[in-house]
Symmetry: C2
Subunit: 220 residues, 2 copies
C-alpha cells in the first residue's frame, strides 16, 4: 500500500463529473490498484476514488491518470508532496461476520411460531420465477404464507414481497397466499404500505429469538 500525502487537485469524469480544488489530502493506492483520495474528515468514504480493475499512469509524478475499461477517468494533479511511503501488507485473512439477515432468516425458520401462532415452515428460499421467497409457511388452517425477512423493513421490501405474492397467487395449489413482512425494525411508511395491501407486519427481536433457539437446543 502506497500512502501519499500531498497538496493536490482532482478531477473525475465518468458516471458524473466532479472536481476537487487544491488542498492537502491523503492519496491511498492499494495493492489491487484501486486509488482513493481522503480528506481529514467525513466518515470512511473518500472524496474521490477509482476501483480496481484500472490502469494507473504516474509517468509524470505531478500528474496522475487513472482510467478503467468503462471510460471513467480520474486525474490527480500533485502540487506538493508532503509524504510518500509504501508498506507491504500481504493478503488479508478477511472479516468474520455474525448477525446479518441470513442468520435472522435461519432463526425464523427454526421458530416459525414467531411469525404467527401455529405457523409451520414449508421451506426456506422457496423458488418463484422472479427469485426465491425467504420463507414459505402454512398457517394452522393450512393456508400458504409467504414471508419476507429484513433487518430493517422499508418500502422496497414491501414491494419485493408484493411481487412474490402476485407470482405465488398464480399457482393454483397455493392460492390464496398471505404475506408476512418480518424485520427487526419496520419503518412507518413501510408498515402503512404493507397493511394497506393486507400484509401483516411482525417485528422480530433478534436477541430474544437467539435465546429461544439456544433454549430449545438445551432440551436435547
Amino acid at each position: 500500500m502506497r500512502l501519499v500525502v500531498a497538496r493536490c487537485t482532482v478531477d473525475y469524469e465518468g458516471r458524473l463529473q466532479a472536481h476537487l480544488p487544491e488542498a492537502v489530502r491523503l492519496i491511498m493506492v492499494k495493492a489491487d490498484g484501486c486509488v482513493a483520495i481522503h480528506a481529514d474528515g467525513g466518515a470512511y468514504k473518500p472524496l474521490n476514488w477509482m476501483n480496481a480493475p484500472n490502469r494507473l499512469i504516474t509517468d509524470d509524478p505531478r500528474s496522475w491518470r487513472v482510467t478503467n475499461s468503462k471510460g471513467e477517468e480520474l486525474r490527480i494533479t500533485i502540487h506538493e508532496v508532503i509524504s510518500d511511503t509504501t508498506h507491504e501488507m500481504g493478503v488479508d485473512p478477511g472479516l468474520r461476520k455474525d448477525g446479518v439477515e441470513a442468520h435472522l432468516q435461519e432463526l425464523l425458520a427454526a421458530n416459525p411460531d414467531t411469525l404467527g401462532e401455529g405457523m409451520v415452515l414449508v421451506r426456506r428460499e422457496y423458488p418463484t420465477d422472479i427469485g426465491p421467497v425467504d420463507l414459505l409457511c402454512r398457517d394452522p388452517e393450512g393456508r400458504a404464507v409467504a414471508v419476507e425477512v429484513k433487518r430493517r423493513g422499508e418500502i422496497d421490501g414491501v414491494e419485493q414481497l408484493t411481487r412474490y405474492l402476485e407470482r405465488l397467487d398464480r399457482d393454483g395449489t397455493l392460492r390464496p397466499v398471505r404475506g408476512v413482512f418480518a424485520a427487526q425494525q419496520i419503518k412507518p411508511q413501510a408498515r402503512v404500505l404493507a397493511e394497506s395491501r393486507g400484509i401483516r407486519c411482525v417485528v422480530v427481536d433478534y436477541d430474544e429469538l437467539r435465546g429461544i433457539t439456544s433454549d430449545e437446543l438445551k432440551l436435547f
Copy 2:
C-alpha cells in the same frame, strides 16, 4: 490525520459482531475522530470502522477502544507498530458535482417537450401523501402526466412511479393520470415492467438537453 501501519487484530460489536485476525493493516484516524481499518485491497471500503462522533481511548498504545453513544464498540489490539505518522490537512474545500438527477430534473422541467410533444409543466416536486412526484405535467389535451426522473432507470424506479400514479388517481381533479419514466438509460427489465403498466419510457440525452437549454438562453 494519523496514519498507523501495524500488525493488529480487531473486534467490532454493535450492529453486528465482526472479528479480524492478526495481520498488517492501515489504521486511519481522521480529525473528526472517525477510525477506519484498511487492508491492502478491496475497493475503498475499510474492513472495519467507527464513524464520528465517537470516543477514542488510546491510553494503552497496544489496545485501542473506540465507542459511540449507540453502544457500538471497536477494539483494536496492536501487536507491532510499523509506522505511525500524523499530518495536518486543514478543512477540505469539498467536492463539486455535476450531472446528477437534480440537474436532469431541472433540465426536463425547462424542456417538458422532451417528455412528449406539447407537454406543459404544472410543477416540480408535486406533493402526494407518500412523497413528491418529480414532475407533474399536462399533455396537449390537458390530461395529467406524472413523470419520474432517474439517471439510470431500473425496476424500483418504475415501482416508485406506480405508487405515485396509484395515489394521484385517487385525486378526482387529476384522474386519470398517465405516467412517464424518464432516464438517461433504461434497463430492459424496467422498460418491460413500465410498458406492461402503460407507463411510457423516455430516454433522455443529458448533453443534448443541456445544449437545448443553453440555446434557449442565447435567444435572450
